[in-house]
């Protein structure tokens, strides 16, 4: 059995990030949610096909991301005049109207962070699958974990829905092809993140490889 498969089987120690309780957890059979016995936080979710499934969905999401950004999302016609918007039109209009900060925020949350999340996920899953760990693997995995909350395509789609209802009273509003692609991106991102198991990736990378009770001793450096 290869070394990383051993690490996967052996549970080892885990400290709950919300309450600091130490848990020793044995081998976990997928699919299984491991929760902190003290505070109830989900420590990790072991899924079936933890590498291939999220990789497939992340790639599909990335492909759909291109038309989602190129095609109009909402088409609006009012007294014979028609306008439509792509994802970044709003960003441009906000910046033009004197609010580049808000525009930047929209750009980050609706375009850049979701894209980086999918790209980071693809990268770390490929690395882990090939058992090749370049120097930036740990940094990319940390970034990917952190971006989970900051990509907000789901919120954006809800805003689209509300804009249909709000504008529907004034004029004819129609969904554009970009909206369907964005919906596809959302579904792919959700399915990918459901199967994504950073705990497993860290273990395969070699983190948490401590034997029970004997942790590596670190010498502090003065900063």
């Amino acid at each position: 059995m290869p070394k990383d498969a051993m690490a996967q089987k052996r549970g080892g120690w885990i400290a709950c990030p919300d309450c600091d309780t130490l848990h020793q957890c044995g081998p976990v059979k997928a699919p299984h949610d491991v929760k902190c016995a003290n505070c109830g936080r989900t420590l990790f979710t072991r899924t079936e096909n933890p590498l291939d499934r999220p990789l497939a969905f992340a790639l599909a999401g990335l492909v759909l991301f291109i038309p989602a950004n190129l095609y109009p999302i909402v088409t609006f016609s009012f007294h014979g005049v028609k306008t439509d918007n792509v994802l970044v039109t709003g960003v441009y209009r906000l910046a033009e109207g004197g609010f580049p900060g808000v525009g930047l925020l929209v750009l980050l949350a609706s375009v850049l962070f979701p894209a980086l999340y999918l790209m980071g996920m693809t990268y770390v899953l490929l690395c882990s699958r090939l058992r090749q760990y370049p120097g930036d693997f740990a940094l990319t995995l940390r970034m990917t974990q952190g971006l989970n909350r900051w990509g907000m395509i789901d919120v954006y789609l809800l805003a689209c829905l509300i804009s249909f209802i709000k504008l529907g009273q004034l004029a004819t509003v129609l969904p554009g092809p970009g909206l369907y692609c964005l919906g596809g991106v959302l579904v792919c991102t959700l399915l990918a993140s459901l199967g994504f198991d950073p705990d497993l990736l860290w273990r395969r990378f070699g983190a948490r490889s401590d034997k029970a009770g004997s942790w590596n001793l670190l010498k502090p450096k003065a900063s």
Partner: protein
Amino acid sequence: MSNANHKHRALEAGLLTCLECGQISRVAKLPEGSSVRCPACRATLEPRKANMITRTWALVLTGYILYIPANLFPIMTMEMVGNSEKETIFSGVVELFQSGMWAIGLLVFCASITVPLMKLVGLTVLLISVQCGWNWRKRDRTRLYRVIEFIGRWSMLDVFLLSILVAVVNLGGVATIDPEIGMVFFASVVIITMFAAKTFDPRLIWDRAPTQTAS
């Protein structure tokens, strides 16, 4: 004092946990002002998030202050065939209610008005409870923290809605929607409360337990 359900906690056992990768390390002795990095992922290891109380308080208070102009100032101007109308976050909700769309109106009301305020009040309660070392309902308070952390992003709803409206309704003199200053305050509240939730360290809720029960 019964030790029946006493559980071992990492820091009390002299262990530092990496919040990024979960690696547990034993540190010889950590003097003030020194730092160690996680041997697995190179993230900075801290026993608890540094200056967490002060930093979270600063963000929460800023959030309270910005919450007022975010709700007072208009977030957009609607110009429809000649007459222009300014809309605040609250008047947008009222308008949805008046046109009979209760479900959507309620949704926007929750996301834009209730959620940011609930987050600020929730974090205030958590901060005070940690500072006073309250010993009750630790599990529920940790759960409250997780809810605060989870729902924050949905407040971005109004920001996205505005970005769609200004992009689509852009027909010159016929119909135009322009962004207004209130949106800057509102977006700041959303982002600042999200950072405040991230800065808060829920492990402090559990930290004072042994000393409290011992006395």
